[in-house]
Amino acid sequence: MLRKRTAALAGGMAASVALGLMAGAAMAQDAVTLNVWSDTPRLSMFDLYDKTHDNVTLNVTTVAPADLIAKIQLALQAKSEIPDVIFMSDIGYTAQLSTRRSNYLLDLTDKVPQALQDEFYPNGNSPCHVNGKLLCMRNDLAHMIVWYDKPAMEALGKAVPTTWEEFQKLGEELAPQGLSLGTGVEAFPLYAMLVSDGCDMVMPVEGKEDTVKIDLTTEKCLKPARMVDAMLKNGSLTKVGPFEPDFVALAKGGKIPLMIGPTWFGEYVIKPTYEWPAGKLAAALPLKWDDQSQPLTWSWGGGTYGAWKDTAHPAEAVDLVTWMSTDVANQTAAVTLPGHRPSAEAWGARLASDAYYADPNVFKVEADAAAFSHPGYVSLRFSVSDAIAKVVVQPLASGGTVEGALPALQTELVNLAKLNGYQVE
């Protein structure tokens, strides 16, 4: 407490550099303890930091990812036990923890060197930019690519599609054989398809604070919606989600030769759940529309690290956040594709020699695809995918269509945006 007050005083008098120096001086005397809230998979990474940094001791608590915001609200209300550094499993948390009512996150814009920020993949940190400020650092990427069964596609004599038009045509050709190209009813894949042509489905407006654009009436939205409807109708997209038992049975039985999925799908869904044997799985770049010059690919997941704006040890907290997201030795062992390019390249080396994949270039595809990441994949205070699940997916079960649900989705999203304090254009 005393140290905090002194630091604040110093900060008032001198530049923030002085504050950093003071914190450094305090650090030299005794090890600083940082309170950290982590999810289960990140525990070993925080442990590694603790072991390799003598000046800092981490007090790590496992918090259920879904409960993170609630726990922080409580800590802020009580003004005690507020964590110095957190892992956020949902990219929406950044926006939700930087409002007037839950003002938690430390602004990292000037604290993380620009050169280091530039080492991230394009748009890798866009979920961390809220109203022009960098509020977190991305742990892992999760953009959508094409996953396919190489021997099966060869046996079918089909080329892997590169455009959505080819994708739809392939589905048409394969549907009569009882084959499908993934799901049409899971919120995130559906979301990814709907925004693939630049549909303004809650996109931030450049240069205007807390302003989003929502317009689902344009051809950019209607075209993908019609594609999904057609593919659901002829059975080339399934009416069950990718984790439902029916879908798992199809995927295991070789009825899904190709699907759109995030980068973590290969290692964590297709391999363990669909149990494709080694030598089958390969990846291809995301799809584009004929009239697009390059693909625009949405993401599904990806965690971030943030720090507390009133932490007593800002220098150490920032160091921990940067180390977790950019230390190559640490991220090499990470479970999912790092957002930090040098880390990712070290991480990806293992995929090249992994006999599980039918193609040694899986990592290269993932890395190249990162360049096509949708810049609109940002942090919002409300969940668009929840709205899609509620307004679009549920009516599909009782005979509705995606195109038919867009007006209702527009209303829902505009209402949600206004309720959460956004200006809607």
Partner: protein, 295 residues
């Protein structure tokens, strides 16, 4: 079952009774049976084999190891914590509920009606409404994130007071009470000598319901505890399950907690309740709301 019960008297009415009861057994029992069998099966088996396929010993052992080795057997810590919360909370709720229910039932005094009304209101107040004030209050007293804090908060059990009140209102033998009073016994002696010996069934009943509530308490424990070393089983397991993505299907990690582990964890939580219920059933049945018919 019906044939064993009444082989000779099987008329349509009896048949309807047993058919309905058997239907209810299926409704309540089959999901539980499934749950217990599911603990022995692998993830793949759960998703693709027939609903009641039996698992095998190996997958059970694997599941068990995955669950117990997590973070140095942290589940054991959570179980111990749960025991502490349950023992403390149940004792406190008994100390609070039994005398209170007795006092409300056995005598008329100013403020009695008010206490009863507040008890009812507390019984039906949503926990989301009060949980933040409770948290701030205990925090102010320095009791948030302690064993004592959660025990205190979970010892408040208005439903127990209600049960005790109803029980004593009808089962206290008026004659005995009156003659004892004439003999000069005071209220406290009446309570300790006459009411308490009578109260065994209601003590068991309140203890049981309070046990059930505290053992499976999630919301209050979730709000009051922010140190994972103090978590109780439900909060700890939920953190584990939600962190591994086993249910939400965002399983982008190597944590070996999948659906079978979740099911096994569920069984761990349910099993003690089952055993205690079996043991306490005699009391629970004899004490239940025997006087609920009062007017």
């Amino acid at each position: 079952m019906s044939t064993r019960q009444a082989p000779l008297r099987l008329n349509p009415g009896r048949f309807l009774v047993f058919a309905t009861l058997a239907f209810a057994v299926c409704f309540y029992g089959i999901p539980l049976l499934w749950l217990f069998v599911a603990g022995t099966r692998s993830e793949a088996s759960l998703l693709t084999q027939s609903p009641f396929a039996l698992g095998d010993w190996d997958s059970f052992v694997r599941t068990w190891n995955n669950l117990t080795t997590y973070n140095n057997f942290q589940i054991l810590t959570w179980t111990m914590n749960s025991l502490i919360y349950v023992v403390g909370g149940v004792l406190l709720s008994l100390i609070a509920c039994i005398p209170a229910g007795y006092a409300l039932a056995a005598s008329e005094f100013p403020g009695r009606k008010l206490v009863l009304i507040f008890t009812l209101i507390a019984m039906i107040t949503p926990s989301t409404a009060v949980v933040l004030p409770i948290f701030l209050e205990l925090n102010m007293l320095g009791l948030s994130n302690t064993y004592a804090g959660l025990i205190l908060a979970s010892g408040f059990f208005p439903f127990g007071v209600y049960l005790t009140y109803v029980y004593f209102s009808t089962s206290l033998p008026k004659g005995v009470m009156d003659s004892a009073r004439v003999d000069g016994a005071n209220r406290f002696q009446l309570f300790s000598r006459i009411a308490l010996p009578l109260a065994r069934p209601i003590i068991a009943l309140v203890a049981f319901f309070s046990f059930l509530g505290i053992w499976s308490n999630y919301f209050l424990a979730f709000v009051l505890l922010s140190d994972d070393k103090l978590y109780n089983l439900p909060v700890g397991l939920t953190a584990l399950v939600s962190g591994s993505g086993a249910l939400s299907n965002l399983p982008s990690n190597d944590v070996p907690i999948k659906k079978p582990e979740v099911v096994l964890a569920a069984i761990l939580v349910v099993l003690p309740v089952l055993l205690i219920f079996m043991a306490a059933q005699r009391f629970v049945r004899s004490g239940t709301l025997s006087g609920a018919e009062k007017g």
